[in-house]
Structures are given as structure tokens and as C-alpha cells.
Amino acid sequence: MSSNRDPPDGGGTVNETHTTYGTNLISNRSRPEEENQVEEAELKYGASHVIHLFVPVSLCMALVVFTMNTITFYSQNNGRHLLYTPFVKETDSIVEKGLMSLGNALVMLCVVVFMTVLLIVFYKYKFYKLIHGWLIISSFLLLFLFTTIYVQEVLKSFDVSPSAVTILFALGNYGVLGMMCIHWKGPLRLQQFYLITMSALMALVFIKYLPEWTVWFVLFVISVWDLVAVLTPKGPLRYLVETAQERNEPIFPALIYSSGVLYPYVLVTALENPGESRTTSEQSATTEATPSTSAGNTGFAPGLQSDSKRTAVKRIPQKVQVEEAPPAARNQPDNVRIERRTPAAQLEQLNYPRHDDYQEERGVKLGLGDFIFYSVLLGKASSYFDWNTTIACYVAILIGLCFTLVLLAVFKRALPALPISIFSGLIFYFCTRWIITPFVTFVSQNSFLY
């Protein structure tokens, strides 16, 4: 199984937030009034999109933190580790610990980079069947195997023992439904639910199997990699995006969370626009990131994630046309609708109504990898039984996400969502743990309000 899995999914844990901005928009902006309106709309929709992302991110984090605090299975390490973290010797020396963690993180990074490159190679030579097959297998594993383990631990820790038949029936239905929602079609909420749960599961696996200090180094290294892969001119993710643009296809479906309202717009852009290419690239980036993590024990999970991303992308078109079209249509004149189905080139020739542009702008997507690594950070922070740290990290991550979205509005291109959030999360984690908490305990021991 694992051998099959690995090749197709190269992936890293790179996540990106993407807003798609129509390139045609710029031409429309000749009149100042319109520009104002566009800016205002950006602000307004930007804000509500931030909230649309806040909610799922918070839900995912809440699930992870709740699990970490109630189910000891995930907060204890029984000595088993991922294949990617070879240096697990128990030691008290800080220097040695640091070096080993750094080594682990670098090994993981190498795996991620390798997988990403592999993915790009597959994509470049159009081995679509291979990639899709791999994604389906990995999501299958995540939905069935990992969920089973999770449910088992939950039942154990709450001391509930239902019959095996009940469990099998429930798990089977859950998994099959998940596969349908992710790869085929299903209600939007359900799909979002599955994406969130899967990223939470994945995050839990990381927290359990990564050695103590390695987690922090991995978070740091992956954020830097995210930055490099998305922003450098020769970055692999960027290359992927460009290739997708050249081929003019909604590409490589990645693990991407889109808030419900956005679906139609995202879809539209993907189908029609040059602007769409960006989305796809983003998606692809996320896919890449996920696979990398999937080696070793956790290998399944990453694959699954990427799977789910893919499916999500696929679904989107269907959704847009079937269910979501009406809301989109509301804003648009009829011709826009027609345009949707026409190829991108033709569309460009037509003058887009401004509404269309708005819709493109509205599409904010967050890679599932972002969900996973935010949750890893928060879950790890909560595993020391200090709620102050958890809260501080939570606020820091959300503010980082806000800031990333602001930058997104400024630069109007795909941006990595990990670096700012993770860095601020890390800063506040260490500061809170070492400086703020002693101070706060000191003050409240003297029963002072402050």
C-alpha cells in the first residue's frame, strides 16, 4: 500500500490562502468611482471572508485541542515515531536535543521537497491517473483507518462499549459518505465537515508521532519552505501554477477549504478566467504540501488530505453549475452566466461586468495544510495544560491570518498562509510559556486583578 501511495503524492505541508483576482479587473478600473467601489467591496467582502475562514479554522483547532485534553492517546508518545524523524534518542542535553530536532525537521523538509518535485514531474508529464489514484487511496485510508483509530480511542477514554456491529456500520457509513462527499458530490456543509475533520485527524497524528521538540522545528522549517515555494521565481509551487495556467485547466485539485458562499465564485474563476489559474496553482500548491507529510505511519494521512483537496476541487464545478449557480446569477447579468461555460480565451474578449470581478475577488481559499499546521501548533501548545498559552497562540494565529489576508488584498496574488501565522504563533507560544505565564501566575497568586 505504502509504496503505491508514496510516489504520486509528493507533497509538503504547504498551505496557501488564495484569493483569486481577475486580471481583467484592472482594465475596468479606469474610472475612479469604480475603483472606489471595488476597494470598498474588497474591504467588505474581505472582512466577511476572514470570518468565513475564522470559523472553520477555529472549529478544527477546537477539535484538536479538545481531543488533546480528553484523550490521552494523542498526548502521549509511546516511543513510536514517523519514519521521517530518525533522530529520536532520549537525551537531556539541550544542545543535542536541538541538533536532533533540527535534523529531524530537515529530513522532513527533504521529504516534502522530494514529494513536491515528484508531484510536479508527474503533473508535467500528465500522469493524471496516477495522481488521482493515489489521492483516492490516501483519502480512503484517512477516512477509514485513521477514523477507526480515533473512534477507538474516544470510546476507550469515555468508557463506552457499543457492539462491534454498530461500530462497523457507523464507521462504514461515515467513510463511504466521506468518500462520496470529497470525490464525487454531496452537500457543501458535509464536505466542509469532512475536510475539517480530516485535517484535525492529520494534525493529531503529527502531534502524537513527532518528537517533542521536533514539532517546533518542523513548523518553522515548513513555514519557511512555504514562503520559498510560493514566492521565489523558480519555486516549485509557482512552477506548478504556471504550468496549470499554460494548460488552461482547473488543474491539480488540492486540499482546499472554501467557505460555502465562495464556491460559486471560485468555480467561475476556475472555469473561465485567466485569474482562475491562480486558484488552481494555489490548490496545487496545497496538494503538494500535503503529500510530503504522508511518509511513514502518517503517510496515509497526508495522502488522504491531498485526496480530499482534489475531490473538493473537482466537485466545485459541479456545485457551481447545479446548486450554487442561482446565488451567483443574482449578481450577474445573464451574459456572464453564458460566459462561464465558454473557454477562457473567449471570455477575455468579452467585457466582463464588474460583478464578475467581484466574485473573483471574493474567493478566499485556505489549503487544508494550513488547517493542519495551525492545529498542530495549537494542539501542541495545549498539551502542557496551560490554557494561557493556548489562548495566546489562538489569538496570535488568527491575527496572523488576518494580516495575511490584508497582504493578499494588497498584492493580489497567491500568498503562503503559514509563515505569518505560524511565526506569530511560535513567538507567542514561547513568550507565553516562559515569560507571560510566570508573571500571570505570580500576580494571580497574590490574588490581584490586573
Binding site: E33, N36, E39, E40, A41, L43, K44, A47, S48, V50, I51, F54, F385, D386, W387, N388, I391, A392, V395, A396, L398, I399, C402, F428, C431, T432, I435, I436, P438, F439, V440, T441, F442, V443, S444, Q445, N446, S447, F448, L449, Y450
Partner: protein, 315 residues
């Protein structure tokens, strides 16, 4: 059992904040972001004061009171910094927004008209996170195993700072409520000073009042360690009431209107006005089949409602 206690503690401590959040913040994404930004600013101020504590403790022998003072001052300064930031943002937005157009971000671009509402939003963010910092670890320990403050501890007569015994959860709950509402009131006061400074000679009064009451409340809470719980909390709530009344005056109300608003809120609470309104609205909606448009937030709404909410909770 412990978990039930924890959950009820959370519900009791944060019901005022939830009420305020639900009625003023939840419907506007910009406000939600500002709410989180407020908590972030508070966090940064706490970080700075902890750093100061760390630095001072290497220099001076007994730094506790000094660093507490620093902490309070830094918190007030962070409010000022937040105000500056919003002022800048508002200028930027005013450039974008034309006259006569409906602003897309009522919270930010109408800073002049809705500045107290904005102060409420940001202050609530600060208050909620400070209350969380104050209570979360204690509440987590309430969940067990073992519960602090059982009567047993009282019988042994062991004196520690958490001497409240079985009333300890109540003390934490009351402190959390105090903190959240105080932060709202202080933010309104400080921002009023920031807004008017340089234009009125008496502009410094609200800000100074905020700092003084903050210090005073902190000082009062220190008496808790000697066991004067009832006295301390009644004085603190009295100070809170005065602060809220003062905020009401700042917002353009009078003492008279404040008293009437409190009376009205009691009447409303007893006659279940919310539920009546809700039912009536439902009826209206089903009759008209029309969406009810959002009412624009006005200062008056904030002024009359805020004391009402806090008071119902106190009662």
C-alpha cells in the same frame, strides 16, 4: 461533577460578554476582526509588561508592585496605541469613501459617529481575553481530579491566597465579569480622552479616571488575600457602576437617563422583553415575508443598552 462546575463557571463568567458580543459585534465581520485585534493588543501589552517584570526583577529586589503598576499603565497605553491605529485606518478609509456613500465598514470609517461603539467592541476584546487569562487555568483545575476550596481546607485553617474556600469559583466568576466590563468602560473612557485631547482643557479627565480606577481596583483585589471578599466585591461593583454611569455621561446621556435605563432594563428582564420582541418579529416576518433590514447602530443605542446588560447580569 467537576466538569459541570467548570462549564457553569464559564457560562456565568462570560454571559455578559456573550450578550454584548451577540448584540453588537456578531453581525458585522469588521467588528469581529476588531474584537480579535483588541485581544491581540492586550496580549502584546501583557507581553511587554512581563518583559518589564523580567527585566526589573534582575535589577530590583522587590518588584512586584512596581511591575503591577507597569502592567496597568502599559495596558492603558496599548489602548491609546490601538486608538492611533484605528485613527490611521480611518483616514485611509475616508480617502476611499466618498461623501454621501454608505460606508462599507461602519465600524471603522465612521469613527467619529460610532467611536463609542468601536470602543465597546475593542474593549470587549481586551476584557474577554484578560478574563480568560485570569480564569482559564483556575477553571481547568476545577474540573478535577479533586476540587480546590472544599470545606476541608477551611477546617484545617490553612491560610493561602485562595482562601475563599468553597466560594472560590464564585470569586473567579465575579472577577471575570468585573474584568470584562471594566475593560469596556476603561476603553470608552481612554478613547474619549484620546479623541478630545488638545481640543478641550478637561479632556484628560476620563483617561485619568480610567487609570485611577484601574489602579484602585487592582489595589482592592489585593485585599482579597486577606479574606475581605464581600467587602471587596461590593466596592468593586460599585466602582464598576460608577464607571459605567460615567461612560453613559461621556456618550451624552445624563444620570437621569442612566437610572431610567437601568429601571427599564429590570422591567424588560422581568417581563421577558427579548422573547416578546422575538415572537413579534417572527410574526411580522411571516406576515410580510420580508427580510428585516439591519438597524444602523447609533451611539444612543450603545449607551442605553450597555448599562442595561451589565446590570441585568449583576442582578
Amino acid at each position: 461533577m467537576g466538569i459541570v462546575l467548570t462549564v457553569s463557571c464559564y457560562i456565568a463568567s462570560f454571559s455578559p460578554s456573550i450578550a454584548l458580543f451577540y448584540s453588537f459585534i456578531a453581525h458585522d465581520p469588521v467588528r469581529i476582526i476588531l474584537f480579535f485585534l483588541g485581544s491581540f493588543f492586550w496580549l502584546v501589552s501583557l507581553l511587554i509588561s512581563s518583559l518589564a517584570w523580567l527585566g526589573l526583577s534582575t535589577v530590583l529586589p522587590n518588584t512586584f508592585l512596581v511591575s503591577l503598576g507597569v502592567c496597568i499603565v502599559v495596558q492603558e497605553l496599548s489602548r491609546v496605541a490601538y486608538f492611533m491605529l484605528l485613527k490611521k485606518a480611518q483616514k485611509g478609509l475616508n480617502k476611499i469613501t466618498r461623501h454621501g456613500q454608505i460606508s462599507v465598514a461602519p465600524g471603522v470609517s465612521d469613527l467619529h459617529n460610532a467611536r463609542h461603539m468601536l470602543a465597546l467592541v475593542c474593549g470587549l476584546g481586551m476584557g474577554v481575553i484578560s478574563a480568560l487569562f485570569y480564569t482559564m487555568n483556575a477553571f481547568a483545575t476545577f474540573a478535577g481530579p479533586g476540587t480546590i476550596g472544599l470545606p476541608m481546607a477551611l477546617e484545617t485553617g490553612h491560610i493561602d491566597s485562595n482562601r475563599a474556600g468553597k466560594y472560590l469559583p464564585l470569586c473567579y466568576v465575579l472577577s471575570a465579569i468585573l474584568l470584562t466590563l471594566f475593560h469596556v468602560a476603561w476603553t470608552i473612557m481612554v478613547w474619549d480622552t484620546c479623541h478630545k485631547i488638545g481640543r478641550f482643557p478637561t479632556a484628560f479627565v476620563p483617561g485619568a479616571a480610567a487609570v485611577v480606577s484601574h489602579l484602585f481596583v487592582a489595589f482592592l483585589s489585593s485585599l482579597n488575600s486577606r479574606g475581605f471578599y464581600i467587602l471587596v466585591f461590593s466596592v468593586q461593583f460599585l466602582v464598576l457602576l460608577i464607571c459605567i454611569a460615567y461612560c453613559n455621561v461621556i456618550m451624552g446621556g445624563t444620570i437621569q437617563s442612566f437610572v431610567t435605563a437601568i429601571g427599564q432594563s429590570f422591567v424588560d428582564a422581568f417581563t421577558l422583553k427579548q422573547i416578546r420582541n422575538f415572537v413579534e418579529e417572527r410574526k411580522m416576518r411571516t406576515q410580510q415575508r420580508q427580510a428585516v433590514p439591519d438597524e444602523p447602530m447609533t451611539e444612543r443605542g450603545g449607551a442605553s443598552d450597555e448599562p442595561g446588560t451589565s446590570n441585568t447580569v449583576d442582578a
